[in-house]
Symmetry: C2
Subunit: 418 residues, 2 copies
């Protein structure tokens, strides 16, 4: 069978499986998740063996150290995957709840019932832990899932896929509810992206290139997240102590992630008081400062920022700093260079706090808190499957609820339309 | 300036306008809508004159009578458009409400605030009344809108566009908040569909061909509605009197619309009692019956249905009828041939009513009520901009709320992540 037919068959099977899954009870879905956890526990050495093949091949292929690291499974990582499964088990099942209900003048009772999306395809890079994480969230929300991880992780993923299939069978759910694409050829992704009749959503996770490729080639809706160029604006009325802690945390606590601060915007009225101690602390922590002209005047150790620095997502210990004449200039800067991801203001001024919250267009906007809180777990959604920076369906961290939709249900007593 | 640059300029202007619109107050937005209503009122003869050019050209081009009819504006239709504007004015403004809010263990207060999507592009056929309707709903929900109606309506749409621009200027909102594409070349649509950086949503309205064209060529999320192959399943435990009224209404009250019944599924235990009077009544109303073998045996006047009848969206006084041995067969039939639009069951049985509601995958599922209720107004959402049969973002009729999204807002007191 050719790639095209093989992918079509998988998608059709996923659709059929999704029909039983949509009405599967919470305890049965949790039983599958527990079965996967047990399967991982019992097969640690088999998994590590399969993973070793991938790792050796990746090293031969000359993949970067960071990529090989993300690909590698060891006992601790597998335990982490198991813990993650128990977290998903503990989350409330969103399916079946009726989110609101009202009555029409003719007596019709109209409600919106939460239902699964149907079939979700995940296209991601060579991270085998994402295979379990994504499958668990999709399944808990009642969706079939087709998993297409990076080709370098194929042996690991097929091994994990077998464990998941076994757990589905043991719980009496359709085994095609979770499928790992066994084809490493990129054509498989191309074919997946065409099957709008069977697949309801594509979630790409990975670098910007992967995400653009999926967006440009998909007929199926895509939930995506390009990049995080996050700002903290330190207002004239900021509590400078709070501002320093928040900015330091936003930049330094974990610089390689999307919700880390990349540019700090500082009101000119407090720049001379705020910048020297703040930037000294950054430099001591190994952060390279690239400042606007005014910043460099106040803090001569800073490099001069160029036009490339303002839209940059460094994901590293580098920080762009700009002194602005007021909040409007800060907001204009964010409008121009921000990525709709995470934006924060530090201020004690009530009116500006609200204006910033309302006016700034980002999936998460914070007052007096670190940008690092843009995360499903931190915001209270439980595990997340990603952060959406586009506005359709979900904007911000996506938890279980974002993997569902609602349908209208109508209870009548014989009503007809006149 | 070429088409590409012209469309790009419109999209960029729409994006800039959307920033002011997002924070515009309800009374200002309503003032624009009132201004448009007044503008229509005062320019009835100008509008009809512009429309006449379109109608004459369409007739010369040999467009069908139905299309010319939908294109034609007269005083009554313009009054209808004005009434529609007042209905939108009366709707509550969804923007700015905080749909929920909770507190995290570290004291962060996290909320979801309703915000506009940003820029919406409507691609539709030659129906000038849709120009006003779509613009009004998008504006009320705080979105900029780019309107690209069928080329045959270009003079009408440009005339309406001028009236809307005037109303925006008078109310002090950016005049690019509502823009009519002045280019009739299809290339304009192609260019629109690429501008994901500026446009947040595309809504195509029209025939299946237009919708497929948009879906296949768009990089921007699309909310769409292919077709309505709607079923009524008359269960063994149905109240046959209710069933007859509901089925008759669902088929005959307005057969040319998407929520009309196309196939009636009848439980075999009541087929002999139900079908003869029901089908006689249909035939008397001019409905052509195409039945399965059993139907034809019970009601010999029926034509024999072929495989083409089950997926057909007749939009006409034709009805396919199938006798099924139980509800499972009815549901399987709907799974196979339904279009996720509207599905109804008629039954007095509590357990089956719930099972049908939960199991059937359609944007609106009804018990003991006509399929004709799948409509924003009828379900209590106010005016609708369309019905989505895909599940992302919205499933079912889309009112004002479906033209919005939510962002996370976070109120901190200096929290950082550890």
């Amino acid at each position: 069978m050719g790639i095209k037919d093989q992918i079509l068959e998988m998608a059709q099977a996923a659709k059929v499986a999704s029909q039983s899954l949509a009405v599967a009870r919470t305890d049965v879905k949790n039983q599958v998740l527990k079965g996967i956890a047990r399967g991982l526990e019992e097969n640690i050495s088999t998994i590590i063996e399969a993973n070793k093949k991938d790792v050796i091949y990746a090293q031969e292929k000359g993949l970067s150290k960071a990529l090989v690291d993300r690909l590698t499974l060891n006992e601790a990582r597998i335990k982490g995957m198991i813990n993650n499964l128990y977290e998903v088990i503990a989350l409330p099942d969103p399916i079946g709840s009726i989110v609101k209900m009202w009555q029409r003048p003719n007596g019709l009772k109209v409600g919106k019932m939460r239902i699964p999306l149907g079939v979700i395809a995940m296209v991601y890079e060579a991270r085998p832990d994402a295979t379990i994480e994504a499958a668990a969230l999709c399944l808990k929300a009642g969706n079939s899932v087709i998993l297409r991880g990076g080709s370098e992780a194929i042996n690991s993923n097929l091994c994990l896929g077998k464990i998941m299939t076994q757990a589905l069978i043991s719980a009496g759910l359709p085994q095609k509810a979770i499928q790992v694409v066994p084809i490493t050829d990129r054509e498989a992704v191309h074919e997946l992206l065409k099957l709008e009749e069977y697949i309801d959503l594509i979630i790409p996770r990975g670098g910007e290139g992967l995400i653009r490729f999926v967006t440009e080639n998909s007929r199926i809706p895509v939930l995506r997240h390009y990049k995080g160029v996050c700002h903290v604006y330190v207002d004239e009325k900021a509590d400078l102590k709070k501002a320093e802690e928040i900015c330091f945390n936003a930049k330094v606590q974990r610089p390689a992630v999307c919700n880390a601060m990349e540019t700090m915007l500082v009101h000119e009225a407090i720049a001379e008081a705020f910048l020297p101690p703040m930037l000294t602390r950054f430099v001591e922590a190994g952060v390279e400062i690239r400042g606007c002209e005014k910043t460099c005047k106040i803090f001569p150790q800073a490099k001069v920022a160029t036009e490339e620095d303002w839209p940059a997502e460094y994901l590293d210990l580098i920080l762009a700093v700009k002194v602005v004449k007021d909040m409007d200039e800060a907001i204009s800067h964010i409008d121009r260079y921000g990525s709709n991801h995470t934006e924060a203001i530090v201020t004690e001024d009530y009116t500006r706090a609200w204006r910033f919250l309302e006016r700034v267009d980002a999936s998460v906007v914070l007052v007096n808190a670190s940008t690092r809180f843009n995360d499903g777990n931190q915001l209270g959604l439980g595990s997340e499957i990603g952060i959406s920076t586009s506005k359709l369906h979900a904007y911000g961290p996506m938890g279980l609820e974002e993997l569902t939709t609602t349908k209208f249900i109508v209870f009548g007593q014989g009503q007809i339309r006149s």
